[in-house]
Each structure stands twice: as C-alpha cells, then as structure tokens.
Amino acid sequence: MNSATTNSTKPLRRFAVSATTTCAAQAEVYGKCILATYTDVKKDACKEEFAKFGACLRETLKKKW
C-alpha cells in the first residue's frame, strides 16, 4: 500500500511542478487564451497555445511524460 502510494504520487508531483512552475509562462498564455474564449469554447480553440505548453512539459519531463 505504502510503496504503491509513493510510486503513484511522485510522478504526479513532478508533473504538477512542471505544469505550475517550470512551464508557468506557457501555462499563463494558454490560460489567457481560454479566458478570452471561454463563453464559446470549442475543441482545439487554443491549440497553438497548448502546443507550446505541451512542448515545454515534454521537454522538462522527458521520458516521464
């Protein structure tokens, strides 16, 4: 139980740090895009902004993504 918990928590923790700290700038750009369109949001409405955000996440997390 305990080892399973830590194993499942740590990658998520790393992911959380990347999403909120390391890639904060790209996340903000994406967030602003959603903020501007949230009354009429469609699939891929902020595709380009997310592509940059995702690229940053992939870059920082490498294989652990």
């Binding site: 996340a27 967030g31 903020l35 949001v41 469609k42 699939k43 891929d44 995702g54």
Partner: protein, 333 residues
C-alpha cells in the same frame, strides 16, 4: 428485513441477488438506476484508503474543512436548550463533530459511518471528552433503519456526509422515522457552488482538449431543494441556510491531492477512471487564469447547506389558525 449483510459488497459484474436492497446498479457501472448517482462501494474504498494512507496522517492534515464546519455546527447544537441522553452522528467519519461534543450536551454519542477504517481512525484518548460515552456503528448511512430502531433517537446530526447519499429523500425519511417525536435533526452537507472552480476548469479543459466533458465533480444539491425535501420527509419547524468556506491552495494539484486524502475523490457512477495528462495540465492553467487569486494561489469554495428539522409532536409550538389574530396590524403600524 434483509439483514444478512449490513453493507453488501457490490462487486462489479456480480448478479444482483433478489433478496437484497435494490439500490445498487443492476448491471455494469454505466447503468444508472433510480437515485443511483454515486458509487457507494467505490466511496467506501476511497474513505478506507484515505484513513490508512501514511497511517492516517494525510487524513488528519486534511481535516481542516470538516473541523471548521464541525465547530460551526456545535454552535447550532448549543442553541437547542436541551440535555440529550444520546446523539446519533450520521456519517461521522473519525468524529470531527463527535469529538467536540461535551458532557453538558449529551451523555452519549453514537457514531455511524460506512467506512470502518475512518470510523476507527482515532482512539478516544486525547481526541474526546471521555466523560461522554461513545459507541461506533459500522453501517451504511443509506440504510439507517436497519441498525437504528424507529422512534428511538432524541437527536440526529450529520456533518458533511449527506452529499454522497444517492437517495437523499429516502434517507431524510429514514432520519425522521428514527427520531422520537419532537426529536431534532441538524445536518450540514456540501451543495450548491461547492468546488465550482474545479468543475468549470476541468470542463473547459476537457472541452478544449478532447472535445467533450465527463463527470469529475459531483452534481450538487441546491439550497432550494433542501427545504422541499425536508418538508416532504415530514419535518416541521424547518431552518435552512447556506454558509461558505473558502480555502486557498498553491495550485489545482494540491487541491486534488487534499480532496483525495479527505476521501472525497470522484465517485460518480460512470466516471472515467482516467484523465489525460494534457487535460490535467490544461485544467490547471485554466483554473489559475479563470479563478486565481492575486497572490498566485487558487481558491476553492466549499458551500455548506445547513438544515434543521424537527419531528412533529403534539406538544410542539404550532402556527395559530388563519384568521384567529385579534390585533389589527393597522393599529400597530
């Protein structure tokens, strides 16, 4: 009645035996019967796990919302000028509310919860006024009358547990039945706008990334419905009001981690057991952009619906009959 097992093990895929409570989904997890919104079996597992994670430490650190609400509830309980012989705490958890009850309110507290591990998380010593007798019953909150005799309770309290009840009208009726005449029910449940920030962020992120939405945050009871439900269940002298607790978190991830440790993870029937990383990252960005505080933290709202109702009794104060007033309001105003 059907007392073979107090809590049936609702293993998925198991055929329903006919001499049983019909509450469980008839077949697969995506089939929804009447009043089946929440997967009670999953909820019990989540609560059990939350109570045992790191020996209960994680669960204890995330008690803050429940402790806050329990303190507010004690004030309401103290407004009832009566010394009870026994109080039933429905959905007590480890006893957030029960631990605060002192011997000038009651002689005995009975804690009832469907999660055995959570119920026994804390020992009595150091957590509890030991001059109050305590009993723990491990039973399903949805089947209260199986373990509690009708007309037996002086007071029933429920602090932040009713939001996982499938058949809320039915449970309120059971509570009323379990009370003695002139017995009081005081309840607090999450409802209304609870976690609307998380709900909207996940919905927007899922919509924009994946093109559709799935349930992540429970459907909530509305304040308006609660007074209707209480009067439908047969309570009188109703009081219903709303209160909020706001908590700030560093980011959405800490909020979700704390919710998990509170045993409040998603348990909607037919939920997806999976969330794509893209969606999760997107939701975190949306949460911050849409709801974020100026200092960089993100808020979470917990809206609490308070309800007080009394079981009718002949000696209770009642409104006078229409037209029996003797003072003309014209003279007063």
């Amino acid at each position: 009645m059907y007392r073979l097992a107090r809590i049936p093990v609702l293993a998925r895929g198991r055929a329903r035996s006919f001499a049983s409570h019909s509450g469980s989904p008839l077949s697969g997890p995506n089939t929804v019967g009447p009043y089946q919104v929440f997967d009670r079996y999953a909820k019990r597992l989540q609560k059990d796990r939350s109570a045992t994670r790191e020996g209960g430490e994680r669960s204890r650190t995330t008690d803050y919302v429940r402790n806050e609400v329990a303190e507010r509830m004690i004030e309401r309980l103290l407004d009832v000028k009566r010394k009870f012989n026994s109080i039933l705490d429905l959905g007590s958890g480890p006893g957030h509310l029960s631990n605060l009850i002192e011997s000038d309110i009651t002689r005995k507290v009975v804690m009832l919860d469907s999660s055995e591990k959570l119920l026994h998380r804390d020992p009595d010593e150091g957590f509890f006024d030991t001059s109050v007798e305590r009993e723990r019953i491990h039973a399903d909150e949805e089947r209260l009358l199986d373990v509690v005799a009708p007309n037996s309770q002086e007071a029933i309290v429920s602090c932040l547990s009713l939001h996982w009840i499938n058949d809320l009208p039915g449970v309120l009726v059971q509570i009323k039945e379990a009370l003695q005449p002139d017995g009081v029910f005081i309840g607090a449940m999450f409802g209304g706008d609870t976690l609307f920030e998380l709900r909207t962020s996940l919905q927007l992120a899922e919509l924009e990334r994946e093109g559709g939405i799935s349930p992540h945050v429970s459907p909530m009871t509305d304040t308006r419905d609660v007074s209707n439900l209480l009067s439908r269940a047969g309570f009188t002298l109703l009081t219903v009001d709303v209160d909020e607790v706001h908590v700030a978190y560093p980011s959405m991830f800490e909020l979700m981690e704390d919710l998990r440790d509170m045993g409040e993870s998603n348990a909607i029937v037919g939920r997806r057991g999976f969330i794509h990383r893209d969606t999760l990252a997107a939701a975190s960005a949306v949460y911050k952009a849409l709801h974020g505080n100026e200092d960089g933290s993100v808020p979470a709202t917990f809206q609490i619906i308070w309800m007080i109702g009394w079981k009718p009794a002949p000696n209770q104060p009642k409104p006078l009959e229409r037209g029996s007033g003797k003072t003309n309001l014209k003279d007063v105003l």
